[in-house]
């Protein structure tokens, strides 16, 4: 076959150009550290890479949220811990306040300290995070959630909102609890019902009691009851819905009254027996906020002891105060438990995200599998080919019959 000189020339130049192209491409790959230079080199891979890089970015954002959520929850935990310590101290004071050897001045001092503690608790409830946001305001995080009305009551200015943060593709974690939930939604009494004496003459002290049979307690419905002493050793129980359910039962001091799944101790001694006509009420426990609990405790300590009933009232007040503080502490530890569970969830999610990220990085690397060693060896073999093409071109160009026609 004839080969035209022009073709031979072009062939040589084309070969050199092709190898130069390859060298240039390898050089760009090394410079950019990337294997896919042009989407058309690997269409499926490029499309996949769009998604995978996106996933990697999204995971990064989720990890950011985890750090943020962890910080917030830790702060809430610390704050609740502080609140728990305050309540613990108040409980100790209340127990001490029941001591018969204390004089009125001692009790006044105790009451003052309890008020002081109440103020500290209020500060904890109005705690802010690093972003100047109130921890316990619900969604109204820009407003101080609790304000002291000066008359012993505290108003809540927040709402019940709970902020959720997304920390994984399908996982939301709560990063706040409303002050309403934490500080206000605490049942009084024993957590189920509340007992009270109503301006009685006798010295009978009604204890907080307990629910011993949860089914019987709420059957047929929740209602209030009145315990009425028809004689110092006889009583009736009248339900607000059911009417009389116990009548003319015998009473001995220190005996537990039992009805509707409840067990309530009524102490006669040493403060005296109930008098005829004395009544005690038992009602489903309403909510009472922690500040009111402390305020009432202080109030109970402050009230003078002049009549036998006063002493009974003090004992009852201290008993309710201690029970209230116990319930508050229970609430605090319940909330701390929840926070602990959320922080665990965050840790788990961080692990999951980490693993996911690693896998995505691996996939990205597999798709765009760039390897410097490989690229370097590609480059040297391409350079070799280029120099071979150049040398052969020159050699062939030098071959001409005219060289010999002299």
């Amino acid at each position: 076959m004839r080969i035209s000189t022009k073709y031979l020339n072009e062939q040589g130049i084309n070969a050199i150009r092709a190898f130069q192209d390859a060298v240039g491409a390898t050089q760009s790959r090394i410079a950019l550290g990337r294997d896919i230079l042009d989407a058309s080199d690997d269409p499926a891979g490029s499309a996949r890479l769009v998604e995978v890089s996106y996933q990697i970015g999204a995971t990064r954002q989720f990890n950011k949220a985890i750090t943020l959520a962890g910080g917030r929850l830790a702060l809430e935990e610390t704050t609740l811990n502080g609140a728990g310590n305050i309540l613990q101290r108040a409980r100790e004071l209340a127990v001490y306040g029941g001591n018969d050897s204390l004089g009125p001045a001692d009790r006044q001092a105790l009451a003052r300290e309890i008020r002081e503690l109440r103020g500290q608790l209020l500060q904890q409830a109005n705690a802010k995070d690093g972003n100047n946001e109130y921890l316990f305001g619900g969604y109204k995080s820009g407003t101080a959630p609790f304000s002291d009305n000066g008359d012993g009551s505290v108003s809540y200015n927040g709402d019940n909102g709970q902020r959720l943060l997304q920390v994984g593709p399908t996982r939301n974690v709560a990063v706040s609890d409303s002050g309403d939930e934490v500080f206000r939604r605490i049942r009084t009494g024993n957590g189920s019902f509340v007992t009270a004496a109503a301006g009685n003459r006798g010295g009978g002290v009604i204890r907080v009691g307990s629910v011993v049979d949860a089914v019987a307690y709420a059957t047929p419905q929740l209602e209030s009851y009145t315990i009425k002493f028809t004689a110092p050793d006889k009583y009736d129980v009248i339900g607000s819905v059911s009417g009389a359910i116990v009548s003319g039962a015998n009473f001995a001091p220190g005996q537990a009254l039992k009805f509707r799944g409840m067990e309530i101790t009524l102490d006669g001694q040493p403060h005296g027996d109930p008098a005829t006509g004395d009544t005690f009420s038992v009602a489903p426990a309403p909510y009472q906020d922690m500040f009111t609990t402390l305020e009432r405790l202080a109030g109970a300590l402050e009230s003078p002891l002049s009549a036998p009933a006063d002493s009974a009232r003090l004992q009852a007040g201290l008993g309710q105060g201690i029970a209230g503080i116990d319930l508050a502490l229970e609430k605090i530890s319940e909330m701390r438990g929840k926070i602990g569970a959320r922080m665990n969830a965050l840790d788990q999610q961080a692990d999951v995200n980490g693993e996911f990220d690693l896998r995505m990085q691996q996939i990205a690397k597999d798709i765009d599998g760039f390897d410097y060693a490989e690229a370097a060896s590609d480059l040297s073999s391409q350079l070799l080919a280029l120099s071979a093409a150049q040398q052969s071109f020159v050699k062939i160009q030098n071959l001409s019959l005219f060289n010999y026609m002299r």
């Binding site: 490029s46 769009v50 996106y54 946001e133 969604y139 019940n160 943060l165 019959l401």
Partner: protein, 655 residues
């Protein structure tokens, strides 16, 4: 004796012709269109000697041959046409792919930055800096869209300019070919010089590099050229002019027609191959769909984010307004329309949009809407608008009257990317909070808990009305409107919501919201759903939902039908749709560059085959030169011999 000298002289002349031809060949060794020439020699008529036999009288030139094969040249033309088309397309696609798929310029990071900023707002909804960042990221996302659209527009202009220039070149070449044809005619008969025919073939080759053509050679050596669907471009020494003019629908589009033809006689869809095929193919098959798809992503983001944003409330407790604005669908009337009607097209449901443009035609009695991607007739009817939106589009007349034969081109998302913008200006306007909040009553006896509440239908007029869920017994509840004191009607059944039985964890829907009620409520317990406070700056519910749109399927309906809406479910979220776009364009690029490699190999082979016949080999010419030099020297020697013989004879006579 005299004959002997004549014979030598003829050899001398023949050798000179040979040397001249070899010189001509060598001179044209790098002329691409040149066909090697060679001398054709023939022995002269011999003389009869005394009736005994014939004695040769030398040689004479029969002609100058041209090493040429019409089929091989036609093959080169065909392959160079294909190669030019693919190489033009490949170059443009490389630019496009580096734009859409490169990590630095791709749309995906801009999308992610925006949604991440939205997540930051969800993490700190009260924070003005976080909100400001979200607005800035929204701005930078829309400007990425607009930049991208501008870049695509630049590529489009580039391709349009390319096709205009190519049309000019085709005209110039056609004119030159007509001139060469007339020169060939003048040279007459079959005797046209090879160099003129080479010129003709060269022009044909150049034409073929610009547009696919069919060639018919006439007996006199002239060439007739036809393009497209057999329309003539050059006939002998006559030629027709092409012109590139504005399209009947869109003045910014180029269409190609014969000069002097009326509007709308566009032949560009018949032009394939060559550079013009590359430009037109890129514009119609790559760029227009890409621009349309970009618009679709913009439209999808705008619709989805706006809808969610309207379902939330801002820092002032006001319902969110539109977050983004986006270019409306474009409806173009043909220049040829007799009527004055102008269409107004709106997007009714972004999830139902198809990746296509549409043509609406009116035949005097009924309208027909054709989806251009698959040429399907998707709707026909006697009056606009269609009873229900077609492919998510609502089409009606904005103004004017229609006449029979009128045509309209509808591009639903073509302009969406270009006009994508952020409508919000104030960071406080970001509606991060939900408009409602559910709260358990403060004197509840049971342990019932209520979720904060979700907005299901932001358009419900009673959404923010105060509603109380009251437990009439431990197991039954009613949903009471607080203003009227009457039960709210159930959105599913329309019945009043009174005395409904309760299961823990139950979802309750009314007035466009839903709440989840759990735990054990007791008789008399209440749960209130009411308007969220205007200072609920810590509420991130709606911001969370806005951020979640990131991975919500919004675009591109699939085969699965949603039982709730009765419409096909969308299948792609924004990044997924973008990945599809990247894959489409990359696949196209991949196919083109592979096709180009194949076409280059074919062209190379065709050139090699043609050149092995027609090309000049310098070594061969060197051989010829030696050959002719030798024969020249030999002939010269013969003349010297004749001279000597003559002298010998004279000497003998002189003595």
């Amino acid at each position: 004796m005299a004959d002997f000298l004549r014979t030598a002289l003829s050899g001398l002349r023949a050798s000179q012709h040979g040397l001249a031809t070899a010189g001509h060949n060598i001179a044209n060794v790098n002329n691409r269109n040149y066909s090697r020439q060679y001398v054709e020699l023939v022995a002269r008529r011999p003389e009869l000697q005394s009736g005994r036999g014939y004695v040769g009288t030398g040689v004479e030139l029969a002609g100058i041959g041209r090493a040429y094969d019409a089929f091989l040249s036609a093959q080169v033309r065909e392959h160079s046409s294909g190669q030019q088309q693919l190489s033009t397309l490949d170059g443009l696609l490389k630019q496009l792919n580096s734009l859409v798929a490169a990590p630095e310029t791709s749309l995906a990071p801009a999308l992610q930055d925006f949604f991440n900023a939205m997540r930051d707002v969800a993490e700190a909804p009260h924070s003005t800096p976080a909100r400001q960042v979200a607005l800035s990221q929204a701005e930078s996302m829309v400007s990425r869209f607009r930049d991208m659209d501008a870049q695509l527009q630049a590529l489009r202009d580039n391709a349009s300019q390319g096709s205009r220039d190519t049309v000019t070149e085709i005209n110039t070449l056609a004119e030159a070919l007509a001139k060469v044809n007339s020169d060939i005619q003048l040279a007459g008969g079959s005797g046209a010089p090879g160099d003129l025919l080479d010129q003709r073939d060269g022009l044909l080759g150049e034409l073929a590099r610009r547009v696919n053509l069919q060639t018919v050679f006439n007996a006199d050596g002239t060439a007739n050229v036809f393009i497209g669907k057999g329309q003539s471009l050059v006939l002998g020494n006559e030629r027709r002019r092409l012109e590139a003019v504005s399209s009947i629908f869109d003045p910014s589009e180029v269409e190609i027609r014969y000069a002097g033809q009326k509007n709308g006689s566009d032949i560009s869809e018949f032009l394939s191959g060559g550079k013009i095929g590359g430009y037109l193919g890129f514009r119609n098959e790559v760029l227009a769909p890409m621009q349309r798809d970009f618009g679709m992503v913009a439209r999808g983001i705008a619709e989805a984010v706006n809808a969610q944003h309207r379902a939330g409330v801002d820092l002032g407790g006001r319902f969110g307004r539109d977050f983004f604005s986006v270019g409306a669908p474009r409806a173009l009337s043909s220049d040829l329309n007799a009527g004055s009607g102008a269409l107004g097209v709106t997007v009714a449901d972004v999830t139902q949009l198809q990746r296509s443009d549409y043509e609406l035609s009116f035949d005097g009695a009924s309208y027909r809407l054709t989806r251009l991607s698959d040429k399907q007739s998707v709707w026909s009817g006697a009056a606009l608008p269609p009873a229900s939106p077609v492919d998510g589009l609502d089409i009606r007349f904005a103004s004017g009257a229609v006449a029979a034969g009128d045509r309209f081109l509808i591009q639903p998302t073509h302009m969406a990317g270009m006009r994508f913008d952020v409508a919000l200006t104030n960071p406080g306007e970001i509606a991060a909070a939900a408009p409602i909040l559910a709260t358990a009553g403060t004197v509840n006896k049971g342990t019932g808990r209520v979720s904060a509440g979700d907005v299901v239908d932001a358009a419900n007029a009673a959404l923010q009305a105060s509603v109380e869920i009251v437990f009439t017994s431990d197991t039954q509840f009613s949903v009471i409107d607080k203003a009227s004191g009457t039960p709210v009607s159930d959105p599913a059944t329309g019945l009043p919501m009174a005395g409904l039985s309760f299961t823990p964890g139950q979802e309750i829907r009314a007035n466009g919201w839903s709440v989840e009620l759990d735990g054990v409520p007791k008789r008399g317990d209440t749960f209130v759903v009411e308007a969220n406070a205007s200072n609920a700056s810590g509420d991130n519910r709606n911001a969370q939902k806005l951020a979640d749109l990131e991975s919500k399927a919004v675009l591109l309906q699939g085969p699965e039908v949603d039982s709730g809406t009765g419409k096909p479910r969308p299948t792609a979220d924004f990044k997924g749709f973008y990945a599809i776009m990247v894959a489409d364009s990359a696949t196209r690029g991949n196919r083109t560059s592979n096709g180009l490699k194949a076409q280059e190999a074919l062209l190379d082979k065709a050139v090699k085959t043609r050149d092995s016949l027609s090309g000049v080999n310098v070594d061969e010419e060197a051989g010829d030169i030696l050959k002719f030099q030798q024969s020249y020297q030999a002939s010269a020697q013969l003349i010297q011999l004749a001279d000597e013989l003559f002298k010998t004879l004279l000497g003998a006579v002189a003595r």
